[in-house]
């Protein structure tokens, strides 16, 4: 795992910054909770909003926004946390092969006694490792910073871990897509563009199409739907949010490597 270890080392500084940013986001979010808690009028206000709008701010029927699971879901898990991890993952996934090839660093590396399959696999695994690290930092930050502000009251540990696993899942899927496009094209730009477009489109489909819409069945195929369909903090882990992204990521990874093995380097 020499290639993977080198990538982890290369990205240690940027990973540190991203982790720091995520910790700041968690700290800011949990510290704000006491000012919302118990404001019943706030829940009333949200209940009056149109359904699409409620979905966009991460409101889940039956879980009051002022309760810890409702608050954390709306403020963190349905919005900023997955977005931060996903942006990090797409960048790292696109960089793994596409970015390296753009910069011309892949050829000298491949002049060493390593196969393309090994380089691609190790780099992919390293990026997945970085994602895990970032999500673990999110979980640890919540467990450590949450209790003083009462933001974990009534949130079971398996619910919290499930939600974090869901963040990892949705980020993994888009990271794998960015990796695959980068490996297939040897370019970073298309990799970022495709993965970002899929992420944004999926999010819009999930949040804007309401249950009554004729296109509503489309929601079922978006990763955001798998992830956001349940408030895992309140209802416990959801299998779809955790298993489906892995099932999609694996073929994406394999397809990316298969094309990378066959094509000319730039």
């Amino acid at each position: 795992m020499i290639v993977a270890a080198r990538l982890l080392r290369d990205r240690r500084r940027s990973t540190l910054w991203w982790t720091g940013g995520l910790l700041g986001l968690v700290a800011f979010t949990v510290a704000f909770y006491p000012s919302i808690r118990g404001q019943a009028s706030f829940d009333q206000l949200v209940a009056d909003l149109p359904e699409g709008f409620r979905a966009m701010i991460g409101y889940q029927g039956g879980v009051p926004l002022t309760s810890p699971p409702g608050y954390l879901h709306a403020r963190l898990f349905a919005t900023l946390a997955p977005v931060v991890v996903l942006v990090f993952g797409i960048g790292a996934g696109a960089q793994a092969i596409g970015g390296g090839e753009d910069a011309g660093t892949l050829e000298p590396l491949l002049a060493n006694p390593v196969t393309r399959t090994r380089v691609a696999t190790e780099r992919y695994l390293a990026v997945v490792g970085l994602l895990l690290l970032l999500v673990a930092a999110l979980a640890v930050a919540l467990v450590v910073l949450g209790p003083p502000f009462g933001v974990l009251d009534g949130v079971a540990l398996n619910g919290l871990l499930g939600a974090c696993a869901g963040v990892f899942g949705i980020a993994l899927l888009h990271t794998s897509l960015a990796f695959a496009v980068g490996a297939a094209t040897g370019r970073r730009g298309p990799a970022v563009a495709v993965a970002t477009t899929v992420a944004v489109a999926g999010y819009l489909v999930q949040s804007l199409l309401t249950l009554t819409d004729a296109m509503a069945p489309l929601r079922a195929v978006t990763p955001w739907h798998w992830y956001l369909d349940h408030n895992m903090l309140a209802e416990g882990p959801s299998a779809a949010a955790i298993i489906l992204p892995v099932l999609v990521s694996l073929p994406l990874f394999l397809a990316g490597v298969a094309v990378f093995r066959r094509r000319d380097l730039h």
């Binding site: 020499i2 000298p108 006694p113 066959r262 380097l265």
Partner: protein, 297 residues
């Protein structure tokens, strides 16, 4: 001992869309030789090396390195590659790079690496991105030979090196060849290749024009001979002498341009009272240029 090809290609061809980068290349480089690979920019030299290392795949034909495929890690372990322009992460220091590649190759000999750094006067602690072109070139050379490869593929090795370092580089290549290494030396300038190579291939527009020994090319080369005469300089004495392509007369001197053997010229000169003979180094560059331009030599 039967000769053993270290590089073999059979009808190796590469097209990029409509661009015919390399056309039907048959090449055999023998163990222990320094093989010059000459051609103008865009002739297909880098394409050939990238095909050999399996960075790109042939449109048709095939290539063998050290009896195997350039895609095989066991083959790559025995090959050193100096790209025309070494791209590594700008933040890496030379130490980072050598350490990384060294691990992939199962460890470099630290004393050899230290010697190389010293010989090329490289500060291994500076990030590669901060280095000058010449210094980056040195990093490329050091990483290419750090594992004492059996076969070196060098793409324009001494461009960007000052004369002192070019000399240092030549010493290094001779040393490695002395230990049994084979060197494939691609270049667009002749002098770089001439001092090291025994044989050269000349490539033009993706096609192999000729493979010849440097000595043989030298024999083909035109030479300039100046004859300082005691009597009047009469060009007519050399008109029609085999090999003479140009005669200039002036101030008791005849300036001759001779192609091929100078034998007949010397015999013709024997009839005159020659005070002094000045010969100029065979102009290999001239032969080379004629190949470049496609004029049959």
């Amino acid at each position: 001992m039967p000769s053993e090809s270290v590089i073999r290609t059979w009808g190796l061809t590469k097209h990029f869309g409509s661009v015919r980068a390399l056309e039907d290349l048959d090449l055999a480089v023998e163990r222990g030789e320094v093989f010059g690979y000459l051609g103008p920019n865009g002739a297909g030299k880098t394409t050939t090396i990238r095909l050999l290392l399996d960075f790109i795949r042939p449109t048709s034909g095939r290539a063998e390195l050290l009896g195997g495929s350039g895609a095989d890690p066991r083959v790559r372990a025995r090959v050193g590659y100096l790209p025309a322009d070494l791209h590594v992460d700008r933040r890496y220091t030379t130490t980072d790079l050598l350490d990384f590649y060294g691990r992939l190759r199962g460890g470099h000999d630290p004393r050899w690496v230290a010697t190389l750094l010293e010989r090329f006067d490289l500060d291994p602690t500076r990030p590669v991105g901060e280095l000058s072109t010449g210094n980056r070139r040195k990093v490329g050379i050091v990483q290419a030979v750090a594992h004492r490869p059996e076969l070196l593929l060098l793409d324009e090795p001494s461009s960007g090196l000052d004369p002192l370092l070019q000399h240092q580089f030549q010493l290094l290549i001779r040393e490695l060849v002395g230990e049994g290494a084979t060197v494939f030396l691609s270049s667009h300038v002749l002098p770089e290749v001439e001092v090291l190579a025994q044989r050269v291939a000349i490539l033009r527009a993706g096609r192999l024009v000729t493979v010849a020994g440097v000595q043989e090319l030298r024999r083909q080369a035109r030479q300039r001979i100046d004859l300082h005469l005691a009597g009047p300089a009469d060009p007519a004495a050399f008109l029609g002498v085999p090999g003479v392509v140009e005669v200039h007369a002036g101030d008791g001197t005849l300036q001759l341009v001779v192609e091929g053997s100078a034998d007949q010229v010397i015999k013709a000169a024997a009839r005159l009272e020659v005070v002094r003979v000045v010969t100029h180094e065979a102009d290999l560059e001239d032969v080379f240029l004629r190949y470049y331009q496609g004029e049959p030599a």
